[in-house]
């Protein structure tokens, strides 16, 4: 068995918030919290990075537009030059429409796959589901997960600290 971290269950959001604040002050950085409903300010307290997905979507849009514009340009200028009513081969006003649609498609694809990647798709499930206190039957509490990869993590010490912070249960999580 390889240890992923320890998970502590708290009875209410106030206790969880207090625990997060204290553990952050003690220098823990690799933590995650789980709650049945949105607890305001918790993400900022945990030092969660703002989502980078908008940049991925912007990149997808630009890539889609550039790719399709180049594709049209290649097809009408190099592969099969065709004179339509005396218009220039590089008819950019007409190309822009298709390039715009490709930008939307690129943005949508980037959002879809970026979202999957951000949720670590190749992983089938998050290790936290290995914890019995996190199961559906016993769930509904407010959880704080401290990863074993945290430089401050000492199994016994960390478990003791969480217990003293008022955790109802403290459990080891298998990777």
């Amino acid at each position: 068995m390889r240890l992923y971290g320890v998970i502590a269950a708290f009875a209410d959001p106030e206790a969880l918030t207090e625990a997060v604040r204290t553990m952050r002050a003690r220098g823990y950085r690799r933590m995650d919290a789980f709650s049945p409903f949105h607890v305001r300010g918790l993400a900022e307290m945990l030092g969660m990075r703002k989502t980078r997905l908008p940049w991925a979507i912007l990149g997808g849009a630009v890539a889609g537009a550039v790719f399709v514009y180049r594709l049209i340009l290649y097809s009408v200028e190099i592969d099969y030059p065709l004179n339509v009513g005396g218009r220039p081969l590089h008819s950019w006003p007409a190309f822009l429409v298709i390039a715009f649609e490709a930008a939307i498609l690129g943005a949508a694809l980037a959002a879809f796959f970026g979202g999957l990647a951000a949720n670590r798709l190749p992983e089938y499930y998050h290790p936290v589901f290995n914890a019995t206190s996190f199961t559906y039957a016993r769930g509904g509490k407010f959880y704080l997960l401290v990863e074993a990869a945290d430089p401050k993590f000492r199994k016994g010490v960390t478990k003791g600290q969480l217990t003293r912070l008022g955790a109802e249960t403290v459990e080891e999580v298998e990777a």
Binding site: G86, P93, L96
Partner: protein
């Protein structure tokens, strides 16, 4: 606070107006045609603002939403200036022949395609249409100001049909107005999208100005928006973004269709506007009313920054003026770019006068009440 700020600006606005009007009078004596060419874009720009405000108020009456409740007051102020904005077009009416080719003395020499339009494009019918449009607008303004008096609650509920009918009437009159006063400057050109383009441009201008007024008076970046964790300024800025995108879409579509058709009568509209220095105005227009707002309004930080919002709204408003100038001015240009002092004089004269009235109205929200006393204006 608001009252003091606006009242302090009324006198400078009037001073600018006086200087501008003196210059305009000199221009009238000096070169009547050039002066009218400078006056027309300024007057059409100013008339577009209350008309756009009317559109937004009626659309909001149908859709609802917190953005509209916040921005209603400055929009109502804009609508109140409609009578003055209509008066600003009067100086053009006696000498239509100096502005519109179809009314000029040598109209008979115009090409066949234009002469076929004379049953519509003639002076008496033009004046009749303008009087009808003005009347409908004044009635609409009077009714809409009355419907939007309640600041909250009751509001638009149950008035959906009235707002819808008003929007239909407004759409038809703006179509006639755009064809008569703008498209017919080049009677050989036709564009079925143009009236909608003008209506969306009016909305952009009116919304940018109303948001500037709102932003200058209140800290909208900390007021609550329609959803949790969203500032009111974000909602308002997103609406501005939407209006700008609609305008850009329609502008591009007209260009795409005309460019694709490449017919002599139509493409000339763009050729005139992309030569003799007007191409720089076009680049400025694209920068002010598309590129800068598009890039800027993608940023949430900007939408939550007081100074940033003021800048973006000011830039879009300036872009709207450049838009009107670019669409109206080139076919009227007599002396080319050198005649621009006429434009400046007209903008100072008409704009200063109009701005003084707007500031006066904004300083007294209850002053809009003179519209409600009776149908005298309608």
């Amino acid at each position: 606070m608001m009252r003091l700020a606006t009242e302090r600006l009324i006198l400078p606005a009037l001073a600018v107006a006086a200087a501008g009007l003196v210059l305009c009078a000199a221009g009238l004596a000096f070169d009547l045609r050039a002066m009218l060419a400078g006056w027309l874009p300024a007057a059409l720009f100013l008339l577009g603002l209350p008309l756009g405000a009317l559109t937004i108020l009626m659309v909001h009456g149908l859709t609802g939403g917190r953005w509209g409740e916040a921005i209603r007051q400055p929009l109502r102020g804009l609508v109140t200036t409609l009578p003055l904005a209509l008066l600003l077009l009067l100086p053009v009416l006696p000498r239509l022949d100096l502005v519109f080719p179809w009314a000029s003395a040598d109209a008979a020499a115009l090409p066949e395609t234009v002469r076929l339009k004379f049953s519509y494009l003639n002076v008496p019918f033009f004046l009749l249409r303008f009087a009808a449009c003005a009347t409908i607008w004044l009635v609409l303004a009077w009714r809409v100001l009355d419907w939007t008096t309640t600041d909250s609650g009751r509001g638009s509920a149950g008035r959906g049909k009235a707002y819808a009918a008003g929007l239909i009437a407004h759409g038809l009159t703006v179509t006639i107005f755009a064809i008569d006063w703008m498209l017919s400057l080049e009677p050989e050109f036709s564009s079925t999208i143009y009236a909608l383009l003008e209506a969306s441009a009016e909305v952009v201008g009116a919304y940018a100005l109303a948001m500037t007024v709102l932003c200058a008076n209140r800290s909208i970046e900390v007021m609550p928006g329609g959803e949790e964790d969203v500032a009111l300024s974000e909602d308002l800025a997103n609406m501005l973004f939407g209006f700008v995108l609609l305008w850009a879409y329609l502008s591009f579509m007209q260009w795409l269709v005309t460019w694709g058709g490449d017919l002599p009568n139509e493409i000339r509209w763009y050729l005139i506007r992309s030569s003799n220095g007007w191409q720089y105005l076009l680049w400025l227009l694209i920068a002010l009313q598309f590129a800068i707002p598009f890039a800027g309004l993608l940023s949430r930080d900007l939408k939550r920054s007081h100074a940033g919002l003021l800048w973006i709204c000011g830039i879009v408003l300036a872009g709207h003026y450049v838009d009107v100038l670019w669409r109206i001015r080139p076919p009227l240009a007599g002396g080319g770019v050198t005649a621009f002092w006429c434009d400046l004089a007209a903008l100072a004269g008409a704009g200063g006068l109009w701005l003084a009235l707007l500031l006066f109205v904004l300083g007294r929200p209850d002053g809009i009440g003179f519209w409600r006393r009776g149908p005298a204006h309608g």
